[in-house]
Symmetry: D2
Subunit: 309 residues, 4 copies
């Protein structure tokens, strides 16, 4: 697939010509300070090849992309019982909406909106102190990426803790419905920290490759999850991975993916490759504007859309 | 693919053993009178083979499955301008909710909820009398299925017209926001009639085959839509095709599909086949209970999920 | 109370100096064409005195003020059973919101929002053709005002019928919940016609006087409603009479009242007088901007607030 | 008014015969443990007479009744600027709903729902430590009641702090919109403490008497608030004092009042008296079931309804 190197180079060049780059997330200083001009892309194929362009080795805050990994961990711990805690439906509302939580008595609609990921963090705390749970998440991501240098950006985690009032409200609200087993402070500690993981496009593509490879980790040959679970996680990414822009992303790109407000998007082309793009400017739904565009180009030129013949 | 005949036979047998069959839609007498014991399944492969079991040649009311065909027609008429009239996001609410319409000033979330299909019907009325628009829809479905015997069940259409107060409310509500170009009565006339199309599993599978075949009609060799449009319609079916159970259907079945309250579901396995199942009992989201289960079996045993490696 | 004549003259003069007059309702041509410069005020005391200023004898479209009279009639017909059909709570949403109707399964929050008045009109249709029900309402208002010249403005009623899509949606929506006994067209016919009553400030004050006089009609000496019912209607006007501005009106004016989008407001000072003001420009809640201000002045200078010592 | 003693005795007797007493609030152990059989009533007239029956001298947790006093204090501090922080409209939703806060960007609908009282507590913290603000509130209530023995029940305050997750969510949610000036913990500290004031019917009636007496404290002869402010606080109590049962209370009782989940209700008959009832069992809106009934009897027999002739 030599064409893929030319493809990522092309995409990088075309993205560089774009003048409208979206708005960088500004709710914490660490994200607000990021230059919107960054762009990186990395493709990791299931046969182990890598094709990168732009700043593919610059770490950024993966934010909500981390929810794919905590979901995988939680499913490994409690299996389908997870769905007693959180639904599997698109939310139809912004990522941090509290309205739906009231209507559904504290049960979040899916594991990728903030409330849902907070519920998942609560599951990961079972039998653990927050520090341990955070440690397990970091170890898991390092294992998936085959890279022990991956760390949490403590400044980001600290800023989120200081200013994440909306997430505190979500957690306390779920607590008020008896839907959290642990103190909201502990749960949020886990949540804010895993969102603060700093990774590069290359690392993130490697870490997500098992979802493209039927649940196996091509690097180690080991099984991360069963093929069925990999399929189902992909299905959740497709229907719920981009907040209230999930339908649009499926329509335009046609691949399961998960975005983060740091501007990263991890995408899975089942049987073919995992792909990560990074461009910090966001669209009105909180997803990377140019990252989405780059992936639309990629899907069009590779024909990797899961909806095609 | 001889295995497919054994597969549909197996599925029919296993479905026959199920005791919980869901609730038949009862808002009009014609649907309420349907025996919940019916079951049919038909697979049409892109190379023209057909595999059927059960009552695959018994006509049923396709109801909302027809929205796939009216969407295809409307996209053919106005292209992407359609998206000024209707969104592309899952709704997060029941199929006939009016709440979201108020929040979004009369613009429906997607073309598959009732309000969205009403907006699509309004588009199809451009330059036409209601009768003509209905005629065009019937002609299009006959052409797709290669079967001129397909007709609208007038009793069903009439009953809907008599009792579809909620849909009247949706249409009048959109009208109050200036979002309909034609009188609500005309738009609803078109909507109620296309929902009353009576088709068999075999006919419906044939009619939907172009979506599995990159937009071509394998029977005639002609192009119905471009490959890109077929992909995008499939994406919409995946994210929005089953009302507030779309996420669950994607999770369990992993194929784009569209359900109707008559108990039919049309599903697309891109590059492989179109499939239709019919079982009149519905689950709490208004989708065929055993039809969903049959498709879950089929996806599992064929490995056709679009989310798999 | 000779001071009252000076008071209404003063108020008229002060209102004339106001430059910000609000926005005239523009959803039908008949209302849109009304000059925002009109102003009238009439006080009718329980001992039969009248004090007027400005255009107190010019007829205007009373619109929702008519809901006080239809409520009174319906309570006379079915008594407290009315409250099975409609609630008694402020709505917390705009006058024509449909959201609450969905949450509460088609039961309107109170008889003064549009949906509630539509439910009341349905009650008034029992045993009647629409024309008869409308005739009874007109007769009742004429009787209350002691004035047989009061008529419905047919052009207004016709325009509402032509363009009142939102109200049609409300009625059909209630019908879909089984909450209307009669065809939506009939119910709306009654509703649109009573809203189109044309009355002067003087006529409206006279017609509302029974609510200030413990249920008696001071002119005839007859009893319109019991003292308890008069009190309770007044309570409903206080909590629900001004849509989502009811709290503000109670805070500023402190008297039970009912407003209409024609710019009229009928107000009751229990034991003292009924008052009507008319100024066509509306505030953001759909209540007369200068009419509210005039009543605030009046309440302040008379000390008639029901909340005072 | 010797009849008043007979009246309260009668009411006490009739209430004692009621078998349906409502449900005691059970979200904290201190309230859950209260015997639903308690009943007390106290009338304090503006000329200084007191009429009591039942357990009028037993202290109970006044809970939300305290919001009348904090509102009065806050208006004294910042005047009408308070209305930039909180609205004056009935909410149309339960007392602790978070939905409306999202729709209105963190501005509560009125000062008597939980979110609104939290905003008022934030105002009271200006220039103060939480302990000082709490101290001022206690001093103010002691001054109004002329009774230095009134204290906060620390166990109740502590329990609320431990389990009031919903209120924490409300405060954090408002904080996320930038609508609180102080840390949520401080604001909630003030809020939970003033709700934990323990008072008797007699003390509460005395403390609320200024609202019936045009703002003056009949005991001391001093002015607490201006007559206009007393009127306006009464208006707020009428439209918003009983959560989503405010309309019903106005309809049945016809007097401004404020209820608390401890089962107390303070009511104002302008120019005549303040009245307090206490019966711990609540109706479905969170207001004292038998307390409301007792007040309905009282209003009926005294003719004190503000809506009457």
């Amino acid at each position: 697939m030599d064409g893929l190197q030319a493809l990522v180079d092309d995409i990088r060049r075309e993205i560089a010509t774009q003048t409208e780059r979206g708005r960088v997330a500004d709710y914490i200083p660490q994200l607000a300070a990021v230059d919107p001009g960054h762009f990186g892309i990395a493709i990791t194929t299931v046969d182990g090849q890598e094709y990168v362009a732009g700043e593919a080795d610059t770490a950024f805050s993966i934010q909500s992309v981390s929810k794919v990994f905590t979901l995988t961990l939680a499913l490994g711990m409690v299996g389908d019982r997870l769905w007693n805690r959180v639904g599997r439906e698109p939310s139809g509302t912004p990522f941090n909406s509290i309205v739906q939580l009231e209507r559904e008595q504290g049960k979040p609609r899916n594991p990728f909106i903030n409330a849902g990921a907070i519920a998942v963090a609560d599951v990961l705390l079972a039998g653990h102190q927050p520090k341990e749970a955070i440690g397990e998440i970091v170890q898991f991501v390092r294992f998936l990426a085959g890279d022990d240098t991956i760390v949490i950006d403590d400044k980001v985690a600290h800023s989120e803790t200081e200013t994440g009032f909306r997430n505190v409200a979500l957690a306390q609200f779920m607590r008020s419905f008896g839907k959290l087993d642990h103190p909201a402070e502990h749960v949020l500690g886990v949540y804010f920290h895993h969102c603060a993981l700093a990774m590069t496009c290359r690392q993130l593509s490697r870490a997500g490759l098992f979802l493209a490879a039927g649940g196996r980790s091509p690097a180690t040959g080991g099984t991360v999850v069963s093929p069925g679970r990999a399929r189902r996680i992909n299905a959740l990414m497709l229907t719920c991975g981009h907040y209230d822009g999930s339908g649009d992303f499926a329509y335009r790109v046609g691949l399961p993916g998960k975005s983060g407000v740091g501007g990263g998007i991890l995408v899975v082309a089942p049987g073919k490759a995992s792909i990560t793009v990074w461009s910090p400017g966001l669209n009105e739904n909180g997803n990377s504007l140019l990252g989405s565009l780059a992936l639309e180009m990629l899907a069009q030129r590779t024909g990797w859309s899961i909806f095609g013949a």
